[in-house]
Symmetry: C2
Subunit: 359 residues, 2 copies
């Protein structure tokens, strides 16, 4: 996000009724996922399920002139949504972390430039975590956010809640909610070339044009001194859900297979047995890895069988498993196995230490 | 926290009624700062103002035997408290970040050992951010958390809400709420040696003994197979409030003076004028600083006077201000000024680049 010019910040969970009333999104009949409570003085307070209204309100203090534009900000923040049915674990839950980004621009052109740049950045993110080949930029209705078309990032996934139509040649898709002859023709494509798939929405981007800022009275003076409404677009990645989708996509019957880019640890070091020599060798390797700022999970439990340690390692799904035992030490080696492969190999300890130290 | 053996994790904002009823802390008459709302099915849900109950509940899945103890965990998490009066900016607000840590131990001795270790760690934190000399370990009542004595970390501060009695020789204090002849005598001290001061509570630590775990049914089997309640102590630092206290303590009439350890940036680079030579030199220095992973705020605004830039720099309070202008470049230098001092000096650009590159 920083590479495309966005600054990180964070907004509050607590939400002002007045701010959301300006766009008529406080009313439970308009937005049915609000959690609300009451202050001691009887005033209502909401809990943030989205942050478009408060960021536009906040930006009134920072944007008055064309000199202040464009402005891009993003946060990693906890959203609270009063879903009727929380389901599929972290795929749909009432509390989750979202990365949300907001672009404030002085013209449609500037806004669209950032919209396209962000689309590329998002695709890069999904590619880096291994979902590139099964994640599609998908045309969708605006939903509660906007009455224009929007774009979703949909990842093919059996436990996904959405149905999308994927084009057989192009790297695009259309959400079922707007999939019809008219939409397809507008895109210059044929309905026969689309195939229905189940997918999970892992990101979405919305172009509000000037509508939201007009509603909320966010205007700026252009170079000629004319008062003009600010262009707004918003960009979200559902971090928590994405974690669930990753597990749905990358697993086998033994457990998770974390992609390296998002694995909680890079290595899972297991020591077998309690012989001093073995434990010392494992401790030495552990310290070397830590000293070189690599992330390693060290299973030095003494009251657990080898089988249980292997099963736990498979379940947790760290990309690389290292085993040190009497057997491997007899060959001055450590056993190395990738979680994604069935084969293991012996690597001389000296070589492993050199790799860890980046020599 | 990691140095004393704690693992970082994070808990949810949403809270289960049932968990808090076990200790009778769901009732608004017992705890008057709850924010509560309702799920779609009519069930009540709370918003976390503390996380002692949920962490004890969670630990039931992880602690069953002496092998599982001790266990230390901490989080940086957003607390929500329905305060009657939010005041003094971030010193007392309804939403704030807390670092809370929890220790689960098998014996009083183990628990007290961690209690003392944490006290030392906390004092180290306050020392590192420049509050060491005016922050006191203060004896206090247990408050809503416990009926035993607890300890607060109180920082002398005119806008603080607490009154504490500081001993003239020892590095300790007593909160007004328990300051009386009896308490002082118990400590083997004299009332004459204490002086009343205004202070802000920046941290607190509580020893629950086994009471909380007994209430919530968290027991473990010791080596002999006996069922015993787990010892619990909890440790908090109010990060958001601490930021406010830092500003109260470190400021002058021009603005904030951030201590280096917590400054949002280490350097504030200002370029004056729009001559290509000057701007290029500033950009080069900026890139060098960034490349060496130092944090720098770069004021390259072109529509702002030098005076306004200086005033903003003083207001924001970054520890070191660097100025590049036609005047400084005439001497191949950059002007360097610490925010905490009135004096500036010229440093040759070559020397500054070498310092930045750590040569």
């Amino acid at each position: 996000m920083k590479d495309i010019g966005s600054e990180e910040f964070i907004m509050s969970t607590l939400q002002n009724k007045e701010v959301w009333e300006k766009t008529d999104r406080w009313d439970d009949k308009k937005v049915d996922i609000w959690f609300k409570s009451e202050l001691k003085n009887g005033n209502q307070v909401g809990f943030g399920w989205s942050h478009e209204e408060p960021i536009v309100d906040l930006m009134k203090s920072y944007i008055t002139s064309y000199n202040d534009l464009p402005r891009f900000v993003h946060q990693f923040q906890n959203k609270l949504r009063n879903e009727t049915r929380a389901k599929s674990g972290v795929i749909r839950c009432r509390e989750f972390i979202m990365k949300d980004m907001y672009a404030f621009c002085g013209s449609d052109e500037e806004n669209m430039e950032f919209y396209n740049k962000s689309t590329e950045a998002y695709l890069k993110v999904f590619k880096r975590i291994g979902l590139g080949d099964i994640t599609y930029v998908t045309s969708a209705a605006g939903g509660v956010f906007t009455d224009k078309f929007s774009h979703e990032f949909q990842t093919l996934c059996e436990s996904g809640e959405d149905l999308i139509y994927v084009h057989k040649d192009n790297n695009i898709a259309i959400n079922k909610e707007i999939y019809n002859e008219e939409t397809v023709k507008k895109m210059g494509l044929e309905m026969n070339d689309f195939e229905e798939k189940k997918a999970a929405e892992v990101g979405n981007i919305f172009n509000f044009g000037t509508s939201k800022c007009e509603q909320m009275d966010l205007y700026f003076s252009d170079k000629e001194g004319n008062r003009k409404p600010v262009y707004l677009s918003s960009y979200g990645i559902g971090i928590t859900r994405l974690m669930g989708v990753l597990v749905e996509v990358f697993h086998d019957d033994k457990g998770i297979i974390w992609p390296e880019a998002v694995a909680p640890f890079k290595k899972h070091l297991i020591v077998l047995g309690e012989d001093k020599e073995v434990v010392d060798a494992a401790e030495e390797l552990y310290k070397k890895i830590i000293d070189n700022s690599e992330e390693v999970l060290f299973d030095d439990r003494t009251n657990v069988t080898a089988g249980a340690k292997f099963a736990d390692a498979d379940l947790i799904g760290i990309p690389q498993r290292l085993i040190i035992s009497k057997k491997t030490l007899a060959e001055n080696s450590v056993e190395v196995k990738e979680r994604s492969s069935a084969d293991s190999r012996l690597v001389p300890l000296t070589e492993m230490l050199a790799v860890v130290e980046g020599i």
